[in-house]
C-alpha cells in the first residue's frame, strides 16, 4: 500500500494552498482531486472577484484557478483521483486504473460545499428541464457555453444569488425576479438595491416558491406572496445557496482536519485559501 505523510482531499483553493504551504515548510503532501483539472469551484465562476487575498490581484475565477494550478506545478497533485472512503488512516482511491488504498499520516479534507438542490428543499411540481443550482448554471455558461434559459427566476438572496445574476448577464439572460422567503434579503446590505438598480432584477422578499410547472421545459413557478398565490411565467429556476458541505467522507467519523468550505457555509475563495495555509502551518507544527 502506498504511504504518504499528508494527504489532502480536494484540489480547490483550500486544498491547493495547504499543499503549497506544506511544501514551503518542507513537508511533502499529496493532493487528490476528483476532477480532471484542479482549481475547485472558481474554475466555473467566470466573473471577477478572485485573487485579492492571495495574489493582490482581481481576477475571474478561472484565471485564479489557473494561477493556483501554476503555483502547484511542483507539488504531488493527482487529478482524476476520487476518494471513495476513509477508514482510519487508509483512503480508498479511485482513478483510471481502478481502486487502490493509500495510507496517510495526516488527512486534510478540503472537499468544499455545494448548494441545496430543489429536491432536498422539497419543492413540488413537475420535473421539467431548466432547473439548476448556481454552480451548475456557471458550469453550463462558463465551461460549456450553454444558455439553458432566457427568463429564469432566482430562488434565494444570498451572496451567491448575485453571482447567479452576473452569470445570467454574461449570456444576455434577464432573470424575471429574485425570490426570498425571508422578509429581507440574506446578502449584506446593499445587495437588494444592487439587484434592482444595477441589474434591473426585481427582488421579492417574503415570497415562497410553492411549485415548478412545465412539461418539457419550465413554463411557470407558483409562488405565495403576502399570503396570496400567483403564477409567474418563466423558463428556468435557479436555486441558490443553502450550502451543504461535501461531507460524504465523514460518515465513519475518520480523524481528519477540515479546511475551506467543507466546514459548511460559503466563505470567499480568499478566506478558504488563507485557511488552507493556516491549517498547513498547524499540521507542520504537529498541532492539527
Amino acid at each position: 500500500m502506498e504511504q504518504r505523510d499528508v494527504v489532502i482531499i480536494g484540489g480547490g483553493p483550500a486544498g491547493l494552498s495547504a499543499a503549497r504551504r506544506l511544501s514551503e515548510l518542507g513537508i511533502a503532501a499529496t493532493v487528490l482531486e476528483r476532477e480532471q483539472q484542479a482549481g475547485g469551484a472558481p474554475r466555473h465562476c467566470g466573473h471577477l472577484g478572485f485573487g485579492w487575498e492571495s495574489h493582490r490581484r482581481i481576477w475571474t475565477g478561472p484565471r485564479f484557478a489557473e494561477r493556483l494550478r501554476t503555483d502547484s506545478a511542483n507539488l504531488d497533485l493527482r487529478t482524476g483521483h476520487t476518494v471513495l472512503g476513509i477508514d482510519g488512516n487508509v483512503l480508498r482511491v479511485l482513478n483510471q486504473r481502478g481502486i487502490s488504498e493509500m495510507a496517510a499520516g495526516k488527512i486534510i479534507l478540503a472537499t468544499g460545499t455545494r448548494e441545496t438542490p430543489r429536491s432536498a428543499r422539497l419543492v413540488g411540481g413537475s420535473r421539467p428541464r431548466g432547473v439548476m443550482t448556481t454552480g451548475a448554471l456557471q458550469a453550463h455558461v462558463y465551461l460549456q457555453n450553454f444558455k439553458p434559459f432566457e427568463r429564469p427566476v432566482i430562488i434565494g438572496s444570498e451572496w451567491v444569488s448575485f453571482s447567479a445574476i452576473l452569470t445570467c448577464r454574461h449570456i444576455g439572460v434577464r432573470p424575471v425576479a429574485m425570490i426570498e422567503a425571508k422578509d429581507r434579503i440574506s446578502a449584506p446590505r446593499p445587495g437588494g438595491l444592487l439587484a434592482r438598480l444595477i441589474y434591473g432584477v426585481p427582488v421579492w422578499t417574503g415570497t415562497r416558491l410553492i411549485a415548478i410547472d412545465g412539461r418539457t421545459g419550465v413554463e411557470a413557478v407558483e409562488i405565495e406572496r403576502h399570503g396570496r398565490h400567483a403564477r409567474i411565467a418563466c423558463d428556468g429556476v435557479i436555486f441558490t445557496g443553502e450550502w451543504a458541505p461535501e461531507a460524504a467522507l465523514l460518515v465513519n467519523r475518520p480523524k481528519v482536519t477540515l479546511a475551506g468550505n467543507v466546514h459548511g457555509d460559503l466563505k470567499t475563495s480568499g478566506a478558504c485559501w488563507r485557511e488552507g495555509r493556516a491549517i498547513a502551518e498547524q499540521v507542520a507544527r504537529g498541532q492539527a
Binding site: L94, I99, R114, P117, S119, G124, G135, H140, L143
Partner: protein, 451 residues
C-alpha cells in the same frame, strides 16, 4: 415504415416491452410504438422497484397469476441479463394494537395465495431483525420473498433482447388512429403508418384512449399518483427489509424501502389525479412523507434528502387487470396494470402470448434465445467504476464511458431523462451541481443538437 409486421405493440412501458420480448423471441416480426422520446416515459419511469411475491394480491385474480409467473421468470433470467436482486425480504409492520390483530389474516391470505414461507414475527424478533426501526413497531409479518430490483434496467434489458431478436422500436411514435381491414391493422402514428396482423394495446395511462381505436373502451383510466422522498445513501444502512404498512380500508399506506441504487425511500402515496402524463409532487405531501419516515426510523434525522419523484399508476374502475383478446379485431387489450406491473410484466407477456396462440394462430417454434446483458447500476453487482475510469457523475459514481455507451447502440437514450435512467447520472445527492453541464455536453455531442 413500409414493412408489415406480425405484431404491433402500442406503448413502451415495462409491460409493452416484456410483451415485445416474448413475441420477438417466439420468432414473430414485431414493432413497438412509443409516444415518448424514449421508452419508459409513462408509469414505468416512477415506481418503487419492488419485486412482489403476490402475498397480498387479490385471491384468484389474473394479477396474482401474472405476479407469480413474472416473479419466477425474473429470478430465472436475471443472471443472463445482468439484472440485480437485492434480497431484502419485507415486513408488514403493525404500529398499533388494532393493526396487530390483522396480522394473522395477512399470513393466512399469503398462504392461500401460495406464498407459503410468510410467517408472523413477534416484537423481540422484530427488534433483532430491524434494530433501527422505531420501538413503536409492535409486531410484523415476514415475507421472505419480497425483494428489491432495478425498475429501469429490467425493461431496458427486455427491450434489448427483443431488438436482438429482430424487433423494431419506434420512439416519438404516438399512435393516433388505426383501421382494421382484410385481417390486418393499419395504424397511424407520428412516425408514419405501420401495418400489423395483430395489435396489442399496452398504453398504460392512455390505455382507454388507445382502446377506442378498436372499440368503445370497457374501462376508464383514472391515474393514481404516488409520491416519494428518497434519502441519501447513508440512510440505506438503517433498515434491511422493505417496511410495509398494514393496509386499512381507508388507505394502503406508505412503504419504507431501500432502493437498488443504495438509497432509502418512502412512498408511494395514492391520489387520484386527472393528469395522465406529468407526475407532479407537492411540498405538503413530501413533508408528510419525510416526517413519516423519521417516525418509522428515528435515526434518519440528519440524513439529507437526495431526490423526490412521483409516478402515475394506470388505475381503472376494475380491481383486476383488464387483459383480453378481441378475436374479430386481431387486438389484445392489456389495460389497468396498476401497481404491480414491474413484477408481473414477464408473466403478463406469457399470458398474452397464450391468448395470441389460442385466438390468432400458433407461435412459431422458438429459436435459441439471444441474451443481452445490460449495464449494472446497482451496488449488488460489480459496477464499471470499480474497474477504474474517468468519473463524470461523482455522487452516483457514473463513468464517462457508461454515459457514452448509453448514448450509442441499438437503443440510445432518447432524451436526458432516458440517459439518467440508463446511467443514474445526476440522480445523486447533488442533483447535478457538479456534473450536469458536463453530462449535457456529452449528450449534445452524441445527439448532435440541443436537447
Amino acid at each position: 415504415m413500409q414493412r408489415g409486421f406480425d405484431i404491433a405493440v402500442i406503448g413502451g412501458g415495462v409491460v409493452g416491452l416484456a410483451i415485445l420480448r416474448r413475441f420477438a423471441m417466439s420468432g414473430l416480426s414485431c414493432v413497438l410504438l412509443e409516444r415518448g422520446a424514449d421508452i419508459l416515459s409513462g408509469a414505468s419511469k416512477g415506481n418503487s422497484g419492488l419485486l412482489h411475491t403476490g402475498f397480498d394480491a387479490p385471491a384468484g385474480s389474473l394479477e396474482l397469476a401474472c405476479i407469480r409467473a413474472g416473479y419466477a421468470e425474473y429470478i430465472d433470467i436475471r443472471g443472463r441479463l445482468n439484472l440485480p436482486l437485492v434480497k431484502s425480504s419485507a415486513l408488514v409492520v403493525a404500529w398499533s394494537e388494532e393493526e396487530r390483530t390483522k396480522l394473522a389474516g395477512i399470513v393466512a391470505k399469503a398462504h392461500a395465495n401460495g406464498v407459503e414461507d410468510v410467517r408472523p414475527v413477534e416484537s423481540d424478533e422484530l427488534r433483532r431483525l430491524e434494530p433501527r426501526l422505531s420501538p413503536a413497531a409492535k409486531a410484523a409479518v415476514l415475507v421472505p420473498g419480497e425483494h428489491i430490483i432495478d425498475p429501469w434496467s429490467a425493461p431496458l434489458a427486455y427491450a434489448h433482447q427483443a431488438l436482438a431478436h429482430g424487433a423494431v422500436i419506434l420512439r416519438d411514435a404516438e399512435v393516433t388512429g388505426g383501421e382494421f381491414a382484410q385481417g390486418a391493422w393499419r395504424l397511424a402514428s407520428k412516425a408514419g403508418p405501420v401495418s400489423a396482423r395483430a395489435v396489442i394495446n399496452a398504453a398504460g395511462n392512455f390505455g382507454d384512449l388507445v382502446e377506442a381505436i378498436a372499440r368503445p373502451p370497457p374501462f376508464t383510466i383514472t391515474p393514481r399518483r404516488g409520491q416519494f422522498v428518497v434519502f441519501d445513501k447513508p440512510a440505506s444502512q438503517l433498515v434491511t427489509a422493505i417496511i410495509l404498512p398494514v393496509p386499512s380500508d381507508r388507505t394502503k399506506g406508505v412503504v419504507l424501502f431501500r432502493t437498488a441504487y443504495g438509497n432509502l425511500a418512502i412512498g408511494p402515496t395514492a391520489e387520484d389525479v386527472p393528469e395522465r402524463e406529468v407526475a407532479a409532487t407537492d411540498t405538503a405531501t413530501l413533508e408528510r412523507l419525510k416526517a413519516r419516515a423519521l417516525e418509522m426510523a428515528p435515526s434518519l434525522s440528519g440524513i439529507g434528502v437526495s431526490a423526490i419523484y412521483a409516478g402515475l399508476r394506470p388505475a381503472t374502475e376494475h380491481k383486476d387487470y383488464v387483459i383480453e383478446a378481441l378475436p374479430g379485431r386481431s387486438w389484445i387489450t392489456v389495460g389497468g396494470i396498476r401497481s404491480t406491473g414491474l413484477t408481473a410484466s414477464l408473466g403478463i407477456a406469457r399470458h398474452v402470448a397464450g391468448l395470441y396462440a389460442s385466438h390468432f394462430g400458433a407461435l412459431p417454434s422458438q429459436p435459441d434465445p439471444i441474451w443481452t446483458p445490460v449495464p449494472n447500476l446497482t451496488e449488488e453487482r460489480p459496477r464499471p467504476y470499480m474497474q477504474g475510469g474517468e468519473i463524470a457523475c461523482h455522487c452516483e459514481r457514473v463513468t464517462r464511458g457508461e454515459i457514452e455507451r448509453a448514448l450509442e447502440g441499438p437503443l440510445p437514450a432518447g432524451d436526458l431523462g432516458g440517459l439518467r435512467r440508463r446511467t443514474r447520472a445526476m440522480m445523486g445527492r447533488c442533483q447535478g451541481f457538479s456534473c450536469s453541464a458536463h453530462v449535457e455536453k456529452l449528450f449534445r455531442e452524441k445527439t448532435r443538437g440541443a436537447a
